[in-house]
Every structure is written in structure tokens, then in C-alpha cells.
Symmetry: C2
Subunit: 205 residues, 2 copies
């Protein structure tokens, strides 16, 4: 069960640890030190030990972390030991790229529907699916127990679409629209905005 006292910034680092551990496991490794894991992720070994200490005692002094065990512990903590259902809203170029991205399924994030309000886009094939009209969104979300909505709509439509998915019971939004969303407290919104990330990099150039 998630502990409520864990800082968000710690939670955001756990997937990075998991990714590095998976690479090590694929390379046939069984143990890793916090120093080596830290180097792979780009944080200090002290940070790794501190982050993991929120969830229990995982390392063995002098030996390091048992990779398979830590992977399954992190998967349980992040609730990745189950399938998550997602819809994509907005079937433009980005929506198509997302629908065709195999990484989602590889990580047990299943895309169960792609929606667009534009009649010219409805019916088009995207990956294994056909684009459906927005009118079908509420029933699809309920039938398929959709947990997460990915918004790949223009900024001007993002708030209205967010309101719709929240009204249907979705509690997590991955927002590709360059627009801050206003949502209830119990809805988790994550922003993927390349412009903001580029603008933070140019500071250093």
C-alpha cells in the first residue's frame, strides 16, 4: 500500500531505479551496489539508500541489492504488478505515434481506445484500434475500467477533455497538451511538455 508521507520527488525516481535494475538483470547481473546503481541513474548512492528506506530494508551491507528482489519490490510499491488500462484522446500525429508505441504494452499499460472529436478522423486505423467518436468515451471508460487518460489534443481543448474524463471517473491524466489543467485534488496530472523542458535546458547553454 502506498505510504502517504513519501515525497513526490522520491516516487518519481523509483521508475528510474527500476529501469536501471531491469537493464542489469537483462545483462545477467544478480547483485548491484548503491554506488553502481546511483551511477546508472545519475544520483548519489546516499540518495538511493535514503529513497529506498521509505519502503523498507532492501540492501545487504557489503553485498548490495539483490536485483530480482528489488525489481519485484519496486513493481509492487509502484503497483506495476497488474495491467493498467488507458485511452488516448486526440488522434493527430502525436496520438498516432503514442498508439503505435510498443513500450506501453511492454510495461503492462494497455491502450484500450483512441478517441477524437473530428468526424474526419473517426474510423481511421491507429495501431490495432480504430479511432472512435468522443460520444463513446464514457461507455468505453466504464466498460474497460480505464485508469489513465492520455491527452494529445490541442491546448485549447485540453481543459474540456480533462473535465470529460474526470467526470467518467478517470483519476490519472498524462497530458501532452501544453496547458496547465485544473482538476479535483484526487486526480493526478502529469505533464509531458517538450517546450517547457527545452526552455529549461537553454538556461544552461
Amino acid at each position: 500500500m502506498p505510504q502517504t508521507m513519501v515525497p513526490d520527488v522520491v516516487v518519481r525516481r523509483l521508475p528510474l531505479y527500476l529501469q536501471a535494475l531491469n537493464h542489469l538483470a537483462e545483462a545477467g547481473r544478480t547483485l548491484v551496489s548503491s554506488t553502481e546503481l546511483g551511477e546508472a541513474v545519475g544520483v548519489s548512492s546516499a540518495q538511493i539508500r535514503k529513497d529506498l528506506s521509505f519502503f523498507g530494508e532492501f540492501g545487504r551491507p557489503g553485498l548490495g541489492y539483490e536485483i530480482r528482489y528489488l525489481i519485484s519490490a519496486l513493481q509492487r510499491i509502484l503497483q506495476l504488478d497488474k495491467d493498467w488500462h488507458m485511452v488516448i484522446i486526440g488522434a493527430g500525429a502525436l496520438g498516432h505515434a503514442l498508439a503505435n508505441y510498443r513500450g506501453f504494452e511492454d510495461h503492462r499499460f494497455a491502450i484500450v481506445g483512441v478517441f477524437d472529436h473530428d468526424p474526419d478522423r473517426v474510423g481511421a486505423r491507429v495501431g490495432r484500434l480504430l479511432v472512435e467518436p468522443m460520444e463513446l468515451l464514457p461507455s468505453r471508460i466504464r466498460e474497460n475500467h480505464v485508469d489513465i487518460a492520455i491527452l494529445s489534443v490541442p491546448a485549447r481543448s485540453a481543459q474540456a477533455v480533462a473535465d470529460q474524463v474526470v467526470a467518467c471517473g478517470v483519476r490519472a491524466i498524462l497530458n501532452y497538451a501544453p496547458m496547465a489543467l485544473s482538476t479535483p485534488q484526487d486526480v493526478h496530472v502529469t505533464y509531458i511538455d517538450p517546450i517547457a523542458r527545452l526552455q529549461a535546458m537553454t538556461y544552461y547553454l
Copy 2:
């Protein structure tokens, strides 16, 4: 000139302030309080005042911030008062979506080339450009003074491509490949990995 003592996390918030300020300016507003700006971005007013204090004195007690002035100050701090040149490497579905995304040009990030190592993709039209072979990458980067490389290649190719662009003098990489990159200290890498962001959200569901 960038101050070296400003924490990365503060720098990453500045583009969000800028975005909110631009929306306010477009709505015809001239002044904004730190409370209102904080609500638009999702941080406390104290945080905003603290973040901005790294760069000078911007607010006027009892009045708030003069929006146009703060926009131009943030643009100068983030070095957004000039054009930045970018190349996209990897002309798959995501590369196409990125090349067609008008948001980059709207924010003075110009895509000057799209590259792929696959001969079947070379010559294809993406947006205003044609996909070019990787052999032309070094000369294009030098001729066009490219500052930033966007990597939309598979994870297995990402490190080799990063090594190539770094060897050509690129000092900033926006990496869409789900793979931690090893680069020299003076190269800035930003990761856009929807899987890691989804995996951090499921913790809360």
C-alpha cells in the same frame, strides 16, 4: 548570464511561470499577484517569490508582478530571446509527430534537419523537410549551428546516436528513447519518458 548557484528544480519551474504569464497576457491582463500566479502553476506564492528572488526583484509590494516585464525578464534569463536550432534523429512515428509539431517554431525552436539511418526512410517528407541520412549529420550540425538534438530512436540505438551528436559539438539532448545516456559533464540531457511518468502516477492510484 545564468547564475551557477540556482537549483535545477527552480530553473525547471521558470518555463511554467512563463507559460502562465503568457496566458494572462493573452487574456489582456497587465498585473498578477504571486498568489494567482501560484494557483495557475500549482505551487505556493512563497515558492514563486523565492524562485524569482534568485534573479532579482520583480514584484511590487501590494501590486504584484507587471506581466509584460516579468515575461521579458524570464525570456532573457532562460535565453529565449534568440532562435535555437534543433535536429531530430529518428524518423519513425514519433519523429514525424515531433517534426510536425508547430509548438516548437512558435517558441523559436527551429527544426533544421531530420535524420534516420534506415535507407527506406531517407528522402521521405516530414513537415517542410526531407529525411536525410546519418552521414550528413555532422556537416548539417556545423552548417546550421545546431544547439539541440532530439532523439526519437529506439533505446538500443540511443547511446550511439548521443555519442555522435556530442562528437559534433551538440551540448543539449532531448531524449525520447527510454534509456539513460552517458554523456560528458557539459552536455545537458533531458529525458521525456512516458513510461517512467506513468509508473510514478500508478503509485497514487
